[in-house]
């Protein structure tokens, strides 16, 4: 192996209650394309945040060596200064500014205090040539497609004197032509000597482009494979990515009584006008009474968008397709309609759109069904406290009283408050989006037990999850979503981690 340009040694990063990175070591050689793969939550993003100084020196243990020198970044500015450029999935361009202004943003070419615009435009043109992008440097970013914007980001990175270019899921939002184009460009840059780290879920492109691949799993380095020695294949990668032993943390369901179809979508399409992109294509799926349906797929595959589009479409997608509840064709204008039809949705982002953090436990639990505790729209505070206490007991929410602000509860207990809120609307179908993200094992077990109890009582559950063991441990049936399509449907008897990963990464 040639000399390493980057060496991360024994990196450990802990968050309260979680070890996100456990003694990770990672070496990148000069002039190679090095791919970093792993499931969601494996630690890829955390590792890159350590590298880029988002988590400053001192908040993790271990050493970062760049070109053989130990680095101690206090923030992103330091790592940029040292020559590390990261391009995130969410592009950091300013839509209303021009291409040349964006390329030199924060790195302006100056004459004294003034910006030298002529030189800026000239140099921007050179950078655009380098990334083989033919656009007018004076065009505004918002008028470019996502693929071109991505290239502008790379041009921006190259305009600085960089040692290391890191791309986080660069092709997640791109179509096939743009993806192929981008990969071609990366090869060209490698041949000019640029070292590149690529994080990707698309194993095909990983195999196509990488010189070497490092696999992370559960915050640990599993292995580094060399493509030139023929060590990289899809099977090998998947095996290393999911090869953890599935612990027996899934409670057993006593008996399965699966009934008629409760909710069904057919030919379901959704277009997001704010992104200008088709996010769901021709999705067909159903869920039956007493059934837990798992929806697996990688981040950005359209899972959450699917749930949102069914649950009254609060984000204003343009939807085409058929939705049936218990056989009846329905159209939900807003979440209120969906709730009335017996659908409940526990969102992925508890703090962002699940809870009202400044309010207390009882107010959050009753919010979606206040009429049930009100007479003539006047709230009966005794009834409210009684209801809240019932859920506090039945869900084992650990809080001194139901008058506690939910911001003071732990993640697991916050999640239970969310569940309590949606159980109180007495739904027929409960959609759970990442129901156990960021909560400890004990609370996870309680939530799984609750899910089993609910389906035994005749409720239906759609469980969206990135955690394969959870999908396999809890579901009766699994849909795999990839790029806004249903890539496959597996009965639990047929489902294996390898099959799901294979479908999700294609």
């Amino acid at each position: 192996m040639s000399t390493p340009i980057l060496e991360m040694k024994n990196i450990t990063k802990e968050f309260p209650g979680v070890k996100a990175l456990n003694n990770v070591s990672f070496r990148v050689a000069q002039g190679e394309i090095h791919c970093l793969v792993g499931e969601n939550g494996a630690g890829k993003s955390t590792l890159m945040k350590v590298l880029s100084g988002v988590y400053p020196h001192g908040t993790y243990s271990g050493d970062i060596l760049l070109g053989g020198e130990v680095q101690r970044y206090r923030g992103i500015r330091d790592s940029e200064h040292a020559g590390i450029a990261i391009i995130y999935q969410e592009l950091a361009l300013i839509p209303e500014l021009t291409v040349y202004e964006n390329i030199f943003l924060g790195n302006e070419i100056r004459n004294g205090v003034l910006v030298n615009w002529n030189e800026t435009i000239k140099r921007a043109g050179e950078m655009l040539d380098k990334v083989r992008l033919k656009v007018n440097p004076a065009a505004k970013i918002k008028d470019l497609g996502v693929g071109k914007q991505q290239l502008v980001e790379i041009a921006k990175a190259l305009s600085r004197d960089i040692k290391l270019l890191i791309l986080d899921e660069p092709t997640a939002a791109l179509n096939e032509d743009d993806s192929a184009n981008l990969l071609e460009l990366l090869r060209g840059l490698r041949d000019q000597g640029v070292t590149c780290i690529l994080i990707s879920h698309k194993l095909k492109e990983v195999i196509e482009i990488s010189d070497r691949v490092t696999v992370l799993r559960d915050g640990q380095t599993i292995c580094t494979l060399d493509a030139h020695k023929g060590e990289v294949s899809e099977g090998v990668l998947i095996k290393h990515m999911v090869g953890r032993e599935i612990d027996n943390i899934y409670p057993h369901r006593a008996e399965k009584k699966i009934g008629d179809v409760v909710l069904e979508v057919r030919g379901w399409n959704a277009y997001d006008p704010s992104l200008g992109r088709q996010i769901l294509r021709d999705v067909s799926m159903n869920v039956r009474r007493g059934e837990i349906v798992g929806v697996a797929g990688l981040m950005g595959s359209g899972r959450t968008e699917l749930a949102m589009s069914i649950f009254g479409n609060p984000l204003g997608y343009q939807i085409k397709g058929e939705l049936r509840v218990k056989g009846e064709p329905r159209a939900f204008r807003d979440p209120e309609d969906a709730i009335k039809a017996g659908v409940a949705y526990v969102t992925e982002d508890r703090k962002g759109n699940g809870l009202i953090l400044i309010q207390d436990v009882k107010e959050n639990i009753t919010l979606a069904n206040l009429q049930a505790i009100a007479q003539n729209s006047v709230i009966d505070s005794n009834a409210e406290i009684k209801v809240a206490n019932e859920y506090k007991t039945s869900l084992n929410i650990k809080t001194p009283t139901v008058e506690q602000r939910v911001s003071n509860l732990s993640g697991g207990n916050q999640q239970k408050v969310c569940l309590g809120k949606w159980l109180f609307v007495k739904p027929d179908l409960l959609i759970l989006d990442e129901p156990t993200r960021g909560i400890d094992v004990g609370a996870k077990y309680e939530i799984y037990t609750l899910m089993n109890r609910l389906v035994e009582q005749g409720m239906s559950i759609i469980m969206i999850s990135s955690e394969l063991p959870e999908v396999l441990g809890m579901s009766d049936r699994v849909y795999i979503v990839s790029s806004g399509r249903v890539a496959g449907e597996l009965s639990i008897a047929d489902a294996t981690p390898e099959k799901i990963m294979h479908l999700a990464t294609n």
């Binding site: 649950f311 609060p314 807003d334 979440p335 209120e336 969906a338 709730i339 009335k340 949705y345 969102t347 962002g352 759109n353 699940g354 809870l355 009202i356 953090l357 400044i358 309010q359 107010e363 919010l367 979606a368 206040l370 009429q371 009100a374 729209s377 006047v378 709230i379 505070s381 005794n382 406290i385 206490n389 009283t401 008058e403 911001s407 809120k421």
Partner: protein, 392 residues
């Protein structure tokens, strides 16, 4: 032990009690610096009447700020509606019982119009209501252009801003207003009974309650306060209609915000609009309701002001919106949304009017008055943010 409890309670509830204490301190200072003139029956009665038209705006503004918006148009809307009321009474010859519901309805519609671009198109309320500010200012000038000030001669209408409730015609206590005293006693009794029943309920659910001595102290303190205000007012002309209207508005809005589904929805939208929408609450509908109510209260404010002056003027309503916003912030409403009490904003309005009234009595120049009021506003908000942070 008692003093330790008291200290602890004060520290834990400093944000809630802070503005009451501030109001008390301000009144005490003015009582001393004006040799008692400030707390004279006549001045306090006047002070409450002056607070009326700002207080009703502050009530509506509380809701607007709770849902993370602002409404700058309310001042000139109040002025314009006051002029419409004057025209309706003096030129169209409408009875006061027709004119008042009519202008309240116009106000509500005006509020819905301000709310429309905010709810439907997502336009910042600052801009939408700034447009309203300009438009209503223009309309006010247009309707008063020909005549200048419009004099209102309807005695019923003018009584709203200047009259007092009638007295019980019996011979005892000739120098005091008996009905006012009676209402004060009823208020104290109702207050004590509701506090005791609330405490019992909380104890039944094992919620944390105030230590007994502190609870009694609180009851005594607030009862004395109500009693003192009642006594002072009763020894002058009694309760004015303005104060009655103010109390009714505060009572209704306090009830809506704390006891009803609508109130809970308003706080939810302010606390987290995305979560509220996903809980089946129509954020749009709440925006309309809140702006509509703001428009109606602007009309009420316009009525109170026109009635007090017994006329509609070309400058009526100038800067009311900023006084109302300041009152809400002094009263503990949070700009981050979801937090704020109607009663607090009324106390905020009282603080701001007390400052003006007290400094007028002291003969402080108008320039200094603005500086002092600005400083008090800044101090109140800084205090609010600091205590909020400490409680996290």
């Amino acid at each position: 032990m008692f003093f330790q409890d008291l200290q602890k309670v004060l520290r834990q509830n400093i944000r809630e009690y802070g503005m009451y204490i501030a109001l008390f301190v301000i009144m005490l200072i003015f009582a001393i610096t004006t040799n008692g003139t400030f707390v004279s029956a006549r001045n306090l009665s006047n002070l409450l009447n002056q607070t009326g038209y700002i207080a009703v705006l502050a009530v509506g503004m509380t809701l607007v700020i709770v849902i993370r918006h602002i409404d700058l148009s309310v001042g000139f809307l109040a002025g314009f509606i006051g002029a419409v009321a004057a025209i309706a009474l003096s030129r169209w010859g409408l009875s006061v019982y027709v004119a008042i519901p009519l202008v309240l309805a116009i106000g509500a519609i005006a509020g819905l119009i301000t709310g429309f671009p905010v709810a439907q198109l997502g336009i910042p309320s600052f801009v939408a209501s700034l447009a309203g500010w300009l438009i209503y200012r223009g309309l006010l000038q247009l309707v008063t252009e020909g005549t200048g000030t419009i004099i209102i001669s309807d005695p019923g209408f003018n009584a709203i801003g200047n009259g007092f409730i009638p007295d019980i015609p019996i011979g005892i206590l000739p120098e005091t207003h008996k009905l006012t005293l009676l209402l004060g006693v009823v208020a104290v009794v109702l207050f004590i009974m509701s506090e005791i029943s609330r405490r019992q309920k909380q104890e039944a659910y094992n919620f944390e309650v105030l230590p007994k001595e502190i609870f009694v102290l609180k009851l005594v303190f607030i009862s004395l306060l109500i009693g003192a205000i009642t006594w002072v007012l009763a020894s002058y002309n009694g309760l004015s209609w303005t104060v009655v209207i103010m109390l009714v508005v505060v009572g209704i809005y306090h009830f809506i915000m704390t006891q009803t589904v609508l109130g809970r929805h308003i706080y939810a939208v302010g606390g987290n609009p995305d979560a509220a929408e996903l809980s089946g609450i129509s954020v749009k509908r709440i925006v309309y309701v809140v702006f509509g109510s703001m428009g109606m209260l602007s009309a009420l404010s316009g009525i109170l002001f026109a009635s007090r002056l017994q006329s509609a003027t070309t400058t009526a309503g100038t800067l009311f919106e900023l006084d109302a916003i300041a009152a809400a912030y002094v009263g503990g409403v949070s700009a981050a949304g979801g937090v704020g009490k109607v009663a607090g904003s009324v106390i905020g309005a009282l603080v701001m009017t007390s400052l003006t009234s007290g400094m007028n009595l002291m003969g402080v120049g108008i320039g200094y008055q603005y500086v002092v009021r600005g400083a008090v506003l800044a101090a109140a908000v800084i205090f609010d943010v600091a205590t909020r942070r400490a409680s996290k």
